[in-house]
């Protein structure tokens, strides 16, 4: 039990972050953390040493999160394949450059709100790939393995998630730029 407690302390923050990104609700994320670690504990004998404990745990947490999301949406199916056929983000539309230091345009708290709001707008199937790959730093192979997707599917979703986020953030960062430019003309 002491060894397992150490694992909980090592990975709880990451599991909480990933769960929050998927379920977008703190209470559900707390439940996911508890259920994911409990399931991991129950299935420790099934854990195959050739895959990292962390990616195995993340796989459990992602599945638990999607189940929570489904429950909250009163039984409607939620999967990582949902809404991924959208064409949005396939091609960049907003080609304006950003401010040299867009983070300086907003306070820390306001920036956090913008980033949360922006990523929450992505379909779950894009959001989870971006979070695992770009935020949590899993490799393409680990992300594919964790989500049960092919490597080309991970690459495709990652590209589109990145472009969609960039497009949506451009609205904030460019708007402030444009406003400043207009103010400068007046």
């Amino acid at each position: 039990m002491a060894a397992f407690e150490k694992l909980v302390r090592q990975y709880d923050r990451q599991v909480f972050r990933i769960a929050q990104h998927i379920v977008q609700n703190r209470e559900d994320a707390e439940d996911v953390v508890q259920d994911a670690f409990l399931k991991a504990y129950e299935k420790l004998d099934q854990f195959q040493g050739n895959s990292k404990f962390y990616t195995w745990l993340v796989r459990i947490a992602v599945n638990e999160s999607l189940m929570r999301l489904r429950k909250r949406r009163t039984g409607r199916m939620v999967s990582i394949d949902e809404d991924v056929e959208t064409e949005e983000g396939s091609m960049p539309r907003d080609l304006a450059d950003w401010s040299p230091d867009p983070e300086a345009l907003y306070g820390q708290s306001e920036m956090g709100d913008i980033l949360r709001r922006t990523i929450q707008g992505l379909p779950p199937g894009f959001r989870v790939v971006f979070v695992l790959r770009d935020v949590e730093g899993l490799s393409t192979e680990e992300t594919a393995d964790t989500l049960g997707l092919s490597i080309p599917a991970v690459k495709s979703r990652l590209l589109r998630a990145r472009l969609q986020l960039r497009e949506r953030l451009s609205r904030y960062f460019k708007r402030r730029d444009q406003k400043q430019a207009q103010d400068g003309v007046k």
């Binding site: 397992f4 407690e5 929050q20 935020v135």
Partner: protein, 65 residues
């Protein structure tokens, strides 16, 4: 940003294109910045009190298994 599996001639072509295409350069730079911003902001922090509460609950449930 560029897929490490991309063939070397393709990478060279892309690099050459980027040097002459402002739109692609902006798209690449702002996409790179998007990733950096998300990586540097921890959007969902687990507070210490909640963390301790979760640990207690998890270990209690595990002991009952």
């Amino acid at each position: 940003m560029l897929d490490q599996d991309a063939a070397i001639p393709l990478r060279a072509d892309l690099q050459q294109h980027l040097e002459s295409c402002e739109h692609c350069e902006i798209t690449l730079n702002t996409t790179r910045k998007t990733i950096e911003i998300y990586r540097s902001h921890e959007l969902y922090v687990l507070p210490d009190d909640l963390r301790e509460r979760l640990h207690t609950a998890i270990l209690a449930k595990c002991r009952k298994c």
